[in-house]
Amino acid sequence: MAKPTLGVFGLTGCAGDQLVILNCEDELLELTELVDIKDFLMASSGNDTSCQLDVALVDGAVLSQRDEDMLKRIRERSRLLVALGTCAVWGGVASLDRNQDRTRLLEDVYGEMGKKYDSLPARALHEVVNVDLSITGCPIEKDQLISAVASLLQGDPPLYPKYPVCTECRMREYNCLLIERGEICCGPLTVAGCQARCPGLNVPCVGCRGPADDANVESAMNMFGEKGIPREEIAAKLRTFAPAWGVNV
């Protein structure tokens, strides 16, 4: 049986999720025996840029017409399109631009020239094309990537937890930064899968994986409010990596 064909692409982002693929040092060579990596610009100069792909992994968000065209082209040539990382899944840090005047921002950063750039407001992939599978994380977790590949090779989508970081934090018996130190920890709202990485280091979760399936944002806002934190501040915090929390200020 022919090996499944794979493409790895980056739109505008930090390339962190592509880097996580390259960070699978122990699995990388095995992986290349199982799948045929046809197109991976960041890692190879010998790419087939027009072949049909079984799976396309795409990181980054759509921030320019060029990104949009590229994404649509990828969609056309691939059977399964996988959004890789928080930028691709939710919009990522660049989507902090929601409700802001982008032209002004462009001018602020690039001066007069800013206005002329090929620049669009940040969008997640699903806002532009149909996405078959989302692997969130900023960056994605290596084990979730491997399990996605292993499952997809069997023909199944991977199984990811839908509960929040809080659950993993408790499972690992970390101290609760929210209750014990009164910090703004996004753990109760953020989707798990990172093994509560930050709380495990005594650092509050900043929500880098985006919202959990069933996040009760309104109640959490009230809870922080009771701790004396202004709503705008919580909202800003929550929106850092994903605009999709449905936060009402």
Binding site: Q154, G155, D156, P157, L159
Partner: protein, 290 residues
């Protein structure tokens, strides 16, 4: 009041590890209806295969290697030993993986689990089986059990309804029962786009008009989607059925099948241990049951 047997002896061949799947071979795949195949299975271990016994209404935990495990009712009847049939609808991870397997593949099985129908108590009574859609899967076991032990039961009636002829499970098999004089087999479809359907075209509760039922001596076994319960139960109560003569088979999310994982709890009962067969009386006493 009817007591459902909740604590039977563990199956003879059960190992000390109740989560241990036993490997079984898919000996036949019958592509009955799109996304609804019947799999005939046989345990690899001969001893196990011959010792295996169960009650109508019980279910198995089916493992597909690499995909996971799911509860599936046994569709065959214990009155025909040596054959184990599962009628599986393709809905998710495990069932998808099962559908990808070719004949002769090996899967894992453990069970049988659940209380099953209280056939001893039902003996000597009339039997009314009412199935809607996929509800036929567990009820087929009971039906064949009754037909194979025909002398144990008085009148046997089957009422089965689906949306259209193409969705009818075990269609040929059931159609062949229609003329039988030792039972009444009533089949219906909501509509028949093909124009070839020879049986009833009506909603399932309508079939009650064609049968004579004596509630006091009848046990009714019902299984189907929620809407079936809604109308059929209403009909049965109107007929004067006692609430503990109505038996229903429930479906819940289930992860262990042996009363540990707590996913299948309804109110204070567990579908896997105390069910999946419950009486209607249970149902009104257990919140969230239907």
């Amino acid at each position: 009041m009817l007591q459902l047997s909740e604590t039977q002896a563990a199956p003879v061949f059960m190992t000390a590890n109740p989560y241990q799947p036993h490997m079984a071979r898919i000996v036949r795949i019958y592509r009955m209806v799109e996304d609804n195949y019947v799999f005939t299975l046989r345990f690899l271990d001969d001893q196990l295969a011959s010792a295996f016994s169960y009650r109508p209404g019980q279910f198995m935990m089916l493992s597909v290697p690499g995909a996971g495990e799911a509860p599936i009712s046994i569709s065959s009847s214990p009155s025909r030993p040596g054959i184990l049939e599962l009628c599986v609808r393709r809905v998710g991870r495990v069932t998808n993986a099962l559908y990808r397997l070719p004949n002769n593949s090996v899967v894992g099985l453990r069970g049988p689990y659940g209380n099953g129908f209280p056939v001893e108590t039902m003996t000597g009574n009339d039997l009314l089986i009412v199935a809607g859609g996929l509800g036929m899967a567990p009820l087929r076991s009971l039906m064949w059990y009754a037909l194979d032990n025909r002398d144990d039961f008085r009148n046997v009636t089957l009422m089965y309804g689906v949306k259209s002829p193409a969705q009818m499970l075990f269609r040929e098999e059931l159609a062949s029962l229609v003329g039988r004089d030792d039972m009444q087999c009533l089949l219906t479809v909501d509509s028949d786009p093909t124009g070839t359907w020879k049986h009833h075209i009506a909603l399932l509760p309508k079939l009650f008009d064609y049968a004579t039922i004596t509630p006091a001596t009848t046990y009714a076994a019902v299984c189907g989607p929620p809407v079936v319960y809604k109308f059929v139960l209403q009909r049965l109560l109107e007929l004067g059925f006692s609430k503990d003569r109505i038996l229903m088979s429930l479906e819940r999310r289930m992860k262990c099948g042996v009363g540990k994982c707590n996913h299948c709890s309804v109110g204070y009962k567990l579908t896997c241990l105390h069910g999946p067969i419950f009486t209607y009386w249970d149902a009104i006493n257990l919140p969230e049951m239907i």
